[in-house]
Amino acid sequence: METVASKWLFVDDDVRFLNHLKESLGLLCGKHPNAPDIYISENVTDALLLIQRELPTTVITDIQMPQVDGFQFLRLLSTKYPKINKVVLTGQSSSQIERLCQKNGVARHFSKPGTPKAMLDIFISLLALDKEPRSNPTAPEITQATELAPTHQALEVNPNPFKKAMRITGKLVPRKDSLSSATLILNDAITTKIQAAQHPKGFSGVLDQINISELVQMLVLSNKSSILEVSADHDHGKIYLEHGQIIHAETTNHVGESAVYILLNLQGGQFELTHFTAPNQKSISTATQHILIEAARLMDEQERYKNHFTKEALTSKTSRITTTTQTHTKRQYVVFEEAITQELCIKESIETNHPPAVSNNAFDLQHLDEVIILAKDGKIQYKHGSLDPAQRIDLIEFINFKSEQIHNQLQLGSLNHFQIFGDNLEAIMARKEDDILLAINTQRPLPMKTLLGAINKNLCLTQAF
């Protein structure tokens, strides 16, 4: 068996811990005949660069990290560097983390060492891990359960790769194949498709079991040049990849990185991979890996605030917040419910949408580019210029979520209004009682004072206009 020198990369956002670790391991390793090379990185971006350069035998990562958390990082490693041993070293320990470790092919899971003895144990365990044969490098191997679980159990842990493999290859994976085999078949299938994509005819498909991020990652890994055209209900666009690097992207309204983020965030839809032809411009110079990490982070952030409004979260929160905030939380839930059944509700609102009664304080809403007013019951009371009210409701949800974070951490009370200023853009979200107004102007400044005056002089927005 070929002997490979051990190289360990520790990834943790706690720099003091990393330095302590490096120092302690340095002392231990200095006396050891097979001393490994130790690398440290305080974020995933730097870690990926280091991995590319040094190709470590083992990556030991923390879980709770900014930008990209440990599990996202592990998933990325599994895809790009399946031969690297993955180890988790974290301050947290729970059955959920154990389960996620298992799901992400983690070979060892340690708690952060508190004593020199604990550090020595980890050191010995890591050395042993490097000596273990890695004939099947992607197979998850957990300290507590040294043998890979039987096939049906493995598939229960993460059934998706199995399903995806079946879908893409169009052939059944034998039951005796393990989870890792399913993943390998999936990778092979996608690689074959990618190779086929080099033929000018290209290939296309429906984004159902596989999402755009995964598809782009595979294209990046293949180092090929191609154009990925994506279309979904809300938007469509193209991502240009040259030698595995994203060099340009465009959607209906965006060009460059923002277009990539929008396209990677599309749900469902269809894709088509065609032969590469140079775009008119190269709008992206940022490293592709960085863009993919940022996109993953943005999607996580969106998921987090959507999950925040689940019924369970609402129930537990309502019991411990003040009366004022309670009203808002209830409203947020109504808005959330509204978002779920948005099509029906919006249709209903639009059908009955008369500009609300005009008071003396009002001004012509038609002068603003976009206005949406949500009433107490969460329904759209008035809307003007908004192409996609569902997305605007989503945005209002997000701002409410952020203002709640402010309230919880800084005790600043309830949100009155939130202003957004861009190069050619002004927007305001104002809240009065239980009504919410979102107004956006793109070419001219918003009449903020008039808007706020109208809001403040009236008990609720729907009376104001």
């Binding site: 930008q67 952030e301 945005l395 974070q405 402010i406 939130f418």
Partner: protein
């Protein structure tokens, strides 16, 4: 390339005169790689190491707004008992100001301009 931590400290140092305003309780800076520092009135600058700190969470708003096709450079949250202002410059990061009162419009504009200048000039 300048040391990101050094840039953060330089920007915080340039912002520190804001703390002489009695309404302003805290200033902060969140760099492009999301390294976050804050300085409260009468205290030294402090690095925030936990990822769930409020400044980092608020800084994420820029990215989410971008996804909603509302690319922005300045954000102002006005709550019942205070205000938070965030001013961003691509390639540098975002300055944050926490005020215990609602800042008047003219003063707010002045603060926003000063922050923009600091972000433009500091290297």
């Amino acid at each position: 390339m300048p040391d990101p931590s050094l840039l953060v400290l330089k920007i915080l140092a340039a912002m520190s005169p804001f703390l002489s305003n009695p309404h302003i309780l805290e200033i902060a800076f969140c760099s492009e790689n999301r390294e976050t520092w804050r300085q409260k009135r009468g205290e030294a600058a402090q690095k925030l190491t936990t990822p769930d700190n409020i400044w980092r969470k608020l800084n994420d708003t820029f990215s989410v707004l971008k996804l909603h096709k509302l690319e922005s450079k300045q954000l102002v949250w006005t709550h019942d008992h205070g205000q938070i202002i965030l001013i961003k410059k691509d390639g540098k990061g975002a300055c944050g100001i926490l005020s215990q009162n609602i800042i008047e419009e003219t003063e707010l504009q002045k603060l926003q301009k000063n922050c923009t200048d600091i972000l433009d000039v500091t290297k």
